[in-house]
Symmetry: C2
Subunit: 345 residues, 2 copies
């Protein structure tokens, strides 16, 4: 452990925000992005940690995101739909702006939706659904990506990796949370395999000729496959419809066409639903939160895990012991802070 550095969560946050500020992001963009990037490192979710900073910077440098955008809350017509226009910036500050409105409306109507339009998305969705659970609500979030997944039975990229995330509030503080790509693997996982020079497991991807491959380079040039065969492919398609087309924003193929590359963060929209368990359970016997605990105990009681257990354990360790970065990671952060956008191509 001689080559590692141990940082507090707050120190890493300050470093990441400084890098993003140097790269041209304004305070709301840098703050919101810094939060989710550091949350990734804190939770041991490396594929959404500091390795994402370069992607953010490349996207800024390419002029594909508005680094100083100030998101704007849309016209509120009193319905179950709330809107935030990210104005070409990242999704995260737009979500932060919309969240209190979403929570208020879900408490009032029992169910509400937050639509984020015209944003660039690069992070995981679990920080968002966890924040909804922090309001005592269940959250469901989804968004397109860029065309990189072939529909089941197809041969070419069309769907995005289209993440789906859900959270249910728990009385002990950490919610029940899942967040996964509707592809077999997240693009970030394939990218990490490529960097590590490791082959992919079977069934993750097809090559540019539509044939199965375990080569990360061929997979990135070809197409990924949906998780769970035709069922995952159907869910991925539903996300294109609901969180792309229905909200009047880009689908994954449109996002790729606009971006022209899969190496930058994709532009599109996002759909987030919030449910009030109290409103739904009104008039029915028994407390939904207590009943949910019985279900979780039954899952754990047969030796199965809850989806975010490892992440929450890592979070606990990071809070008490700090975040450990390798020498290479520290050097990366130093280089990005020193050189700003010159550090990326």
């Amino acid at each position: 452990m001689n080559d590692t550095t141990r940082l507090t969560i707050e120190d890493l946050y300050a470093r990441v925000v400084a890098i993003l500020t140097k790269a041209g992001l304004n305070a709301v963009q840098a703050g919101a992005l810094g939060s989710v990037i550091v949350a990734g490192e804190r939770d041991g979710a490396k594929s959404h940690g500091i390795y994402r900073i370069e992607g953010v910077m490349r996207t800024v440098k390419a002029g594909k995101v508005v680094p100083d955008a100030v998101p704007e809350f849309g016209v509120d017509d009193g319905t179950a739909i709330l809107r935030v226009d990210a104005r070409g910036g990242f999704a995260n500050p737009a979500f932060e702006l919309g969240l209190p409105h979403l929570a208020e409306r879900a408490r009032k109507l029992g169910l509400a939706a937050l639509v984020i339009n015209d944003c660039t998305h690069f992070a995981a969705l679990w920080p968002e659904v966890e924040a909804i659970a922090g309001h005592g609500l269940a959250g469901l979030a989804m968004c397109p990506s860029y065309a990189s997944v072939a529909p089941t039975g197809g041969t070419r990229p069309l769907l995005g990796t289209n993440p789906l995330a859900f959270a249910w509030p728990r009385t002990d503080g950490t919610p029940y949370v899942f967040d996964f790509a509707t592809s077999v693997a997240a693009r970030g996982e394939i990218e990490l395999k490529r960097r590590a020079g490791e082959p992919l497991p079977e069934g993750w991807a097809i090559d540019p000729q539509g044939q199965p491959t375990t080569d990360p380079e061929a997979a990135l040039a070809g197409a990924m496959l949906s998780f769970g065969g035709h069922k995952g492919s159907a869910i991925g398609t539903m996300i294109e419809l609901l969180a792309g087309i229905m909200i009047g924003d880009l689908t994954s193929p449109e996002s790729l066409e606009q971006l022209g590359t899969t190496t930058l963060a994709p532009a599109h929209g996002e759909l987030i639903l919030a449910f009030s368990p109290e409103a739904f359970a009104k008039g029915r016997p028994r407390d939904p939160f207590a009943r949910a605990e019985v279900l979780f105990e039954a899952i754990l009681g047969q030796g199965a895990r809850l989806p975010s257990q490892r992440r929450f354990a890592a979070r606990e360790r990071s809070r008490s012991e700090g975040i450990v970065l390798s020498a290479a990671e520290t050097a990366l952060l130093d280089r990005l802070l020193e050189r700003g956008l010159d550090a990326v191509s």
Copy 2:
């Protein structure tokens, strides 16, 4: 084809309704159930066709469903949540009662939920989401089942097969629809394999000792597995939370406990969401329905299928050529009509 009988959709519907009426169902129950059972046969979805009638009758005979229940529309507080109390009857007439209210509320608020409580569920969910699409809305439906699926990493039944169904309205008449169990296979498929004396594919199930099995009997005595590993297991858990616990109705383990057997139709609730694409797309450029067609064309254009294509093709054939029943199927219908509840054990 000497031993087959060809019936019109209407004739088969009349026969099924007559059988259900003889079995003690009132007009709303028999009518709604007759519709979905005949829809299954009409669409070539045998696992939800006339073979389900005996299950309905066994459930009636066991006193586990109220065959003459009249569903009741709940208190409407003007929120996004609408409720129908099935009053111990089947889910289908409760859905029929709630649908126009759900459609009206979704058009008004952009998004609305229909909660069905205290129902017995035995049918597919696609008739319901298709009916929502018939109102020009997107529909998402889910419900628990009874404990028959082990959570990923577990060894015993806990989750239900928990179906998830979605429909998007299309201008040409047949919507984009998927409806699948969140288990690898539907319980009905395993039951059909058992009847046919065929082994299961690998990965469908574990035996009562928690070991992988391809024996349908052992699978029915053990536990089924989720589709797509931990991701499908997470979605199945979400359905327990949203469509069981949140709506104040039974989870899959509670339903099994109340029923005491997996051979009868399970009692629980159901959650159905309706989205107005027009409301969500308001103020955004381009028509969501036209854009969706571009996506579907792109899927079909690379040789992939849309999820309900085969079912819609069968529907077309049934409409023009009628429904073909085998001699055994005709004999079954005759026997059920003649003997009523005495025909089932």
